[in-house]
Symmetry: C2
Subunit: 373 residues, 2 copies
């Protein structure tokens, strides 16, 4: 077995999930993630954790969803109890076919997602971490050879997380101290403003110790005050959402709600997402990618949203970690990220001060204040 | 997909597990059972059942057990809660390598099995059914080509279960009415006697409606009064137990307890099983194979013990279904079956009356009373 699989498992269990003896761990294994699961089981055994292994098969989901169609029971007792009693959930992604559920209707997927809400909330109340094992299907989705894709994945995952965490802390402080966030492009296609007053940014350093639940990570994100989002954003990075390509989505917000949207591809999928429930038309998250180890889009949100020089916005559910204690943020059955490239001809402003221009932060030597528009 | 996989799934869900809308079902998927799991998910979706899919990977178990070694926690809360809240558990066997855990020590396997006791009891309190999907590894274990093995498996599984259930009911009645059971061979190597007084035989017709939890099935079994077992039995059918071959085991009981045992192969594995706990040295089950669709040993207990013209005895845990209400039978962390061929030169007696001789029952035309010894 590739030694990087063992290193991945160690980072996941020790740095990311911080698992110790006696922890009750659910390991969710995608169809193509078997080898990583074996390596993870090895580390979990060493740590003395208790393990339940679930099989997260897209083909099984497809068969079940197509046969069931509607009337999904919310919170089945056995599934709910499993996650209510888990300390950690390790989600090992790794599809064998990224379009395995392409022939399940959007309505069925929506109904299933809505029924899953309480179970999902229980899972997200644990020290959960989502990661991915490189598969040929994911390599294909990324347009890469398998060997090159493995290098890409491990370059993104096997990083010096402590050092990266310190770098990201700087941006988190700026967001926490700020009141208004604006993202604007020179071409006039993007100009979006939102209040981030009284919200707490998450330094997503790929560890539950930072309230960060993705491996790899390398983003700093917060939850906008959802009623204040105003303006238009052009998502120029093509995304694969629910097995569909979404290209050049342009979304306009008024008083926090999506009032207009279009896309050159995947407009129907976008419509289904936005129509899930009222919360699906509001922003739950704004995130800034800072993992410069990720140097290209691979059609996988786990990586794409962490890429340096990008900003992503998610419609739907907000993360509690960003909200003032006791306050509930935007609520929805969905949480779907879309990405804008801000590496050139664009800037991020906090309270009218440019903090990033053409992909360089104010505190970096390459930051060119003369180019600020 | 082979249409027999869909038929298998239908028999499993409808005839065997009797699953209806709203049932909370755990589907346990072995490494090689993916295709069957997809077909089962399809039927479960149609029935409107709720599904949690677990991954029963021998390679994951091996890694975890070797790293953990000892001190397994009994009844981890998340695992216990999953099965406490399940209505049915469908165990889809299908190894990719039947010796995948051969390098885990017997001590570790024992410790893990003992810690699993409460979880296992919760699982066995559900409408559980164990079945197997044909894999190349199982074909290899059986000494067959893959195509021939698939035929073998589906011949055993896709039967007219209602008719077979009626045939088996005759034997069940004889066992229920009888007080003493004796199995004896002409060569003098087997002569085992036990009380079955006040016990209830199970007509194992591959359905939870018959308290029968294996698919295929086709055996009638009961629990001996465990303190009354006396004599010697020669297990002449070679068995694969815990990844080891056990050949020609000869086991002697006095006052219900194993006092002497040996085998020409696998004696050490047999010793480990018998030393698990005191209950492992007593008989928990005696079963008579009546599935003549299974016409040869394939080194898989799920099939072997159902083969016509055989008797099997299990050391360890007794099934509650065989016991008088309120009475607890033999208790153990293990339940291990060993098989004796009684197709020729042997007979089964109930209360000194020969009910089977050379593989033919008293009520069958081929029964030759002149050959009774």
């Amino acid at each position: 077995m590739d030694d990087r699989i063992h290193q991945h498992a160690s980072v996941l269990v020790d740095w990311s999930a911080r698992i110790t003896a006696g922890d009750n761990v659910v390991v969710s294994v995608a169809e193509g993630a078997h080898d990583l699961a074996v390596a993870v089981a090895d580390v979990l055994g060493e740590r003395g954790a208790n393990i339940v292994t679930t099989y997260n098969s897209a083909e099984i989901s497809r068969a079940y969803l197509r046969a069931h169609e509607t009337g999904f029971e919310p919170a089945p007792a056995h599934e709910q109890a499993l996650y209510d009693n888990a300390d950690s959930v390790l989600m090992l992604g790794g599809d064998r076919n990224t379009t395995a559920t392409a022939d399940v209707s959007g309505e069925t997927k929506q109904a299933a997602a809505q029924a899953q809400k309480q179970v999902r909330e229980a899972r997200m109340s644990t020290d959960w971490v989502s990661t991915v094992h490189p598969t040929r299907a994911l390599a294909q989705q990324a347009g890469m050879s398998y060997a090159r894709y493995q290098d890409f994945v491990y370059d993104a995952i096997l990083r010096d997380w402590e050092t990266l965490a310190e770098e990201m802390e700087r941006l988190k402080q700026r967001l926490d101290d700020g009141s208004e966030l604006r993202v604007v492009s020179d071409d006039g296609k993007t100009d979006l403003t939102m209040s981030i007053d009284n919200r707490t940014a998450v330094n997503s350093a790929a560890s539950v110790a930072y309230d960060s639940h993705n491996l790899p990570s390398g983003e700093v994100f917060t939850a906008p005050v959802e009623t204040t989002v105003s303006g238009t954003v052009h998502f120029d990075v093509p995304m694969m959402i629910h097995d569909s390509q979404i290209r050049d989505a342009v979304v306009t917000f008024e008083d926090g709600t999506v009032v207009e949207y279009d896309a050159t591809a995947g407009a129907e999928t976008l419509a289904q997402i936005l129509d899930t429930d009222p919360g699906a038309r509001r922003l739950g998250e704004v995130g800034i990618g800072m993992n410069r180890g990720i140097d290209q889009i691979t059609n996988n949100i786990l990586f794409d949203e962490k890429m340096g020089d990008t900003v992503h916005f998610a419609v739907g559910r907000a993360y509690d970690a960003c909200l003032p204690a006791g306050e509930s943020g935007n609520d929805s059955a969905v949480h779907v990220d879309l990405i804008t490239d801000i590496g050139s001809g664009a800037q991020i402003e906090i309270d009218n001060e440019v903090i990033q221009r053409n992909g360089r932060f104010q505190w970096e030597p390459e930051f060119d204040s003369s180019k600020v528009s």
